[in-house]
């Protein structure tokens, strides 16, 4: 079981996510980067990310949509342009259900579109569901099987 790479610029949301992973006893399975660009660099193994013992290949890319510099949508498009990253499941994680965003993510090969729970208390069960879904994930049926997936 690999790690989850989470692109999130909001320190609170990042903290809640860490806490959810910790609650599930999976603290080590989460890596957080502050924007989409760095998420892509991580995937590419650019710079310090070349050290895969420190920065292992993720088995899920979780992306906030609204991030500075490189947004989650842009990061999704960049990742899906690269054949090397074609098999990595990408879940969008956002507070809006903007139809245009959902359509964009569907068109660009996202595997899930999840709405952030309004209370972080809801994060732990969501992460649990995500981790289960990754295990069942295959490129043949790319939609992540998880409650609340709007794709």
């Amino acid at each position: 079981m690999g790690i989850v790479l989470y692109g999130e610029d909001d320190a609170n949301d990042a903290f809640f996510m860490e806490r959810a992973f910790a609650k599930l006893g999976r603290r080590e399975a989460l890596r957080i980067v502050p924007n989409g660009g760095i998420a892509v660099q991580y995937l590419e193994g650019a710079g310090k990310f070349a050290d895969r013992s420190q920065y292992p290949d993720p088995s899920l890319l979780l992306l906030d949509v609204k991030m500075p510099e490189v947004s989650g949508l842009e990061a999704l498009a960049a990742v899906r342009r690269r054949v090397a990253f074609a098999a990595i499941p990408v879940a969008m994680f956002t507070s809006s259900t903007q139809a245009t965003d959902i359509a964009f993510c569907r068109a660009h090969g996202a595997n899930a579109y999840l709405v952030k729970p309004s209370n972080a208390a809801g994060l732990a069960p969501l992460v649990e569901g995500l981790l289960r879904a990754i295990e069942r994930f295959s490129v043949e049926s790319p939609r992540l099987a998880i409650d609340g997936n709007l794709l």
Binding site: D10, N12, D13, F16, R19, V65, K66, T94, S95, S96, T97, Q98, A99, K116, P117, S118, N119, A120, A121
Partner: protein, 683 residues
Amino acid sequence: MHDPSHPPPESPAPLVALTAREADRYRALLGQKAVGFVETDLGGRFLLVNEAFCRMTGYPEAELIGKDCHRLTDLGDGRIDAIARAELIGADGTLAFETRYARKDGATIFVYVSATRIAQDAADSTILMTVIDITEQRRAEQIARRSEQRYRTLLNSLDVGFCVIEVIFEGADRAVDYRFLEINEPFERLTGLANVKGATMRELVPEHESHWFEVYGRVALTGEPTRFEAEARALHRWYSVYAFRADSSNNRQVGILFEDISARRIGEQRRLFLSNLAEKLAPLRLEAEVVETVVGALGRFLNVDRCAFAECLEAENRLVISSDYARPGLPSLTGELNLFEFGGIEWWRAISGEGLSVDDVALHPLTEPHPEAYQAIGIRSYLAKTFRGAGPWTSGLVVGNLKPRAWNAEDMKLVDDVLARVWPMIERARSDRALVEAHAELERRVADRTAKLRETISELEAYSYSISHDLRAPLRAMQSYASIVAEERGAVLGDSGREYMRRIEAAADRMDRLIRDLLVVTRLSREAMPIERIELGSFIAGVMDNYPGLRVNTAQIELVAPLGAVRANPAALTQCVANLLGNAIKFVAPGVKPHIRIWSELSGGRRRVFFRDNGIGIAESAREKIFGMFYQTDPSQEGTGVGLAIVKKAVERMGGTVGVTDSLGHGSTFWLELSDAGGGVAL
């Protein structure tokens, strides 16, 4: 011893003096069949005629002897005979001459006469003449002369030039010039060269192309005639030429027949030019492009210094050159000029009528009084022709030269032809442009409005996007930290502290839901809402499946088949159904399991769908207000007061209506009415 006034003796007396041998010879001479033999006295009376002479003249011997020979020659050229005789008498004694005789039958014969005076003594002299009939030769000569005359007449009257030249060689075979030996009348007109006889071509036209000399040199040397067409640039003409060796004994003389084919060649070139021009113009749509192409092509073709497209407004004395061609090195004249500086009203009438052709502005009566204007633009000769279209402006083409130029009718015709072809294109371009401009104006307005609309929409989008992301994030943080504090520090906080934390959470949650509902309203007002046929039974069942709060175990929901089908937008209808069902479940008295019955009725093409619940009901006074924004029947209930506003908005956007009816004290019945989609399959 012979008196001339006496009749001559019966036999020729002079023969008596001959020896027998001489007499034989004399008789032999007289017996000549082809040569007439005559002896006369000095007065011209026949003393002797031979048979051949009688045959020649048609008179028997008897009618001639003793008669004056003037009987024959008076009808002809007796004067010559007389002179001849006079000369014979005074001179060395022999003379040959040609004369005419009139035969007895009236016919004229030509004769060659050789006369000899045969005695020294004047008194005893006689004249011996041999007469040869040369009528045949003379006729042949006459015919030849006549035919040459005809030939000359032909050469002079046809539109064909003729000359005989002598080719001048340098070395054995290099022809460098030729001298004119003979020319016909049309020559001068066809070449423009005068007084050429005896002159050489190089003297007359130094820049005449060398190939002309080479061709004639070859004809002279080989004797092979040649036929060709060529341009003589210095003469400004094209010729079709047939050249042949004129004299077989002299290999330097060449006869040249030639025709001026300038008109035909120019005609051909012009036709070609016009068709090429038409081809070039065909794809062009803009007036500026058309005009620029025309002035460039025409200017280059006519080999002029300038060619311009001008627009004139005589009422305002304006001449606007919108596009012009100038020979490389010359500045463009585009711009505005004063029209009447170039000529007066007569000048303008000429230009705007038949067109004006000015060989030299300093000499033309219409332009001569206006030298400054022409000096200013450097034009010395020009052709101008106008075309009148719709509107006050007159459009025109002008071709001009810095030097005088003798324009010909063909030049003007070409300008005319070009204008005739181009003008419709320009008019079309103008009307196209008007259309395009009108269209562009329309497009611009639409674009303006669209931009404004887009601005509004994107502002709205940015606004709702910002609400979704930025306003909700802090609420999420509040809620989350409140719950974390309660969880981790619950023991320290005590009951009241935990209660406060719960209230923070609840307030934040409420605000979050409020924001989400407002976003829904915004979207419902704004987003495109494509309408489709929706089968209500399966649709409502689907909505129930997707909203955990509407599951069967929470509430009892009864669908009364058949519900039919309506025309609606799935997303909007989902909002309506979810909100109505949500309300029905939410607003029940404590301990009561929600029960909802859904059925539909069709009336006049409209389908009304009813949702009857067993809830707390709605006071009559409130029924008007519940669909308003932020209205809450019971503020203590969870809810935002936006749900029914969402339903109303959504139904209205689908062209429907929404309402609530009294359920006689047990709950309420909401309904929404939409267009029926007909032919529905029952649930």
